[in-house]
Amino acid sequence: MDSNEKILKKTPLFGIHVKSGARMVEFGGWLMPVQYSGIKEEHLAVRSSVGIFDVSHMGEIEVSGLDALAFLQHLTPNDVSRIPTGFAQYNALLNEKAGIIDDIFIYRLEDNRYLLCVNASNTGKDWLWLNEKATGFRVELNDKSAQTALLAVQGPKSSLIMEKTAGMKIAGIKRLQVAEGEIGGIRAVFARTGYTGEDGFEIFFDAAQAEKVWELLIEAGKEHGLVPAGLGARDTLRLEMGYPLHGNDIDEEHTPFESNIGWICKLEKGDFIGKDVLVRQKSEGVKEKLTGAVLTDKGVPRHGYEVLSPDGEKIGVVTSGTMSPSLGEGIALVRIRSEYVGEGREIYIQVRDKRRKALTKTPPFCKK
């Protein structure tokens, strides 16, 4: 085999996506659906009724054992002890420089059993890091990614779909709550979490049942206008909310304080990797920050475009950008010099050969 040949991974729903006419693209080593009927249509459907996403490419790592809490506290900036059993928390894995190795969701399934949901492109890296740092902790680590399918049902009508397929108890769990249950007779973990800014559920279950559960949800969703939605809409939805994407807006070279997610840092908790850097940044401030921008001129901001001050000086860069389907305006997350961060400050974005005017705006761009 040619060592240069790339073998792209597929989720258990690959066949169904292709049959549905989805356009498939490479993402983080996976062949994923970027759209079915159209990005804008899928995006607006999620905002107004409901959509379903196959996000089985994401990683699931279980952390259990007597020291599970202490271990996770050591590796992350947020206070894991504040997660009640049966709830979830947004958090991150930081390196010694407080750089973001990955942003993650932690689900506390049992007192000493946590499920970490991690980015698809970082699963291997995160797994190595967790194992490396586990020395001295009484923990058991299990990479469940290959056996786990993950579907996200997102939109104002999502609870109606869940009631029909998984019952009232599951449909009634609170935001950030996690519960085990059944869907179509298949055991699953349900969480009222998501990456779209809408109400929604994420369903973790045995990958071998992926097609069955997908078809069940599609069928149940027919009367509510449920559409399958791809990574294209997933990106425009999260961007309208200002949620960062690792690799674009957040990375190992920048800390949470530099990345608009400083709120996850609970410096009053005990020691953790990277804490000293964060303590210093809290008192001294940071030179660059991630914030949002809305174009007042025509044009579409994109990753890598330069951000300029009104005087034409380079002050930063666009980390993510798109034409917002809900607003009809160009929106972006930008990493710029801290003194330019604020509300309604005038900046310019170099869109190829044209300088487009924009105003800074702390996300979200859409009110939710």
Binding site: K6, L8, V34, G38, I39, E41, G232, D235, V300, M323
Partner: protein
């Protein structure tokens, strides 16, 4: 894929409707399908000169930015301003309301170099065929 009989085509998937010395120009159904939802179109101004096979503007979808190439040389006499507020017209009606520019043709000989509908359809089959081959090369069934 729609390929109207009465138009001329280029390998870059643009079409031209020619009436006398005036050509109306846009992108084909195949092109808009490949692009996905069009979110922005950048067009020249009236009185600008465009040249055959050279870039006259750009078209953006959510995920991509593509150049627009002119099938013919000439002077821009009209620009479809509807596309500013409704770029989706390119997806909805690529040969009608999704037209982009209208030019005064400066070199009628260039018309002969364009493809007929039949030739463009054959070209599409070739393109689609070769794309499929590419896909097969990239997607190896799991060897492990």
């Amino acid at each position: 894929m729609k390929v109207p009989e009465n138009l001329k085509y280029t390998r870059e998937h643009e079409w031209a409707r020619i009436r006398g010395k005036v050509a109306t120009i846009g992108i084909t159904d195949y092109a808009q399908d490949q692009l996905g939802d069009v979110v922005y179109v950048e067009l020249p101004d009236v009185a600008d000169e465009v040249a055959k096979d050279e870039q006259f503007g750009t078209i953006e979808s959510v995920k991509t930015v593509s150049d627009l190439f002119s099938p013919l040389s000439g002077e821009v006499i009209k620009v479809n301003e509807q596309l500013e507020d409704r770029p989706e017209l390119v997806n909805e009606d690529p040969y009608g309301d999704g037209w982009m520019i209208q030019i005064q043709i400066s070199d009628p000989d260039e018309i002969d170099e364009l493809m007929s509908a039949e030739e463009y359809e054959a070209y599409l089959e070739e393109e689609a065929g070769s794309m499929e081959d590419e896909e097969d090369d990239d997607i190896d069934e799991d060897d492990e």
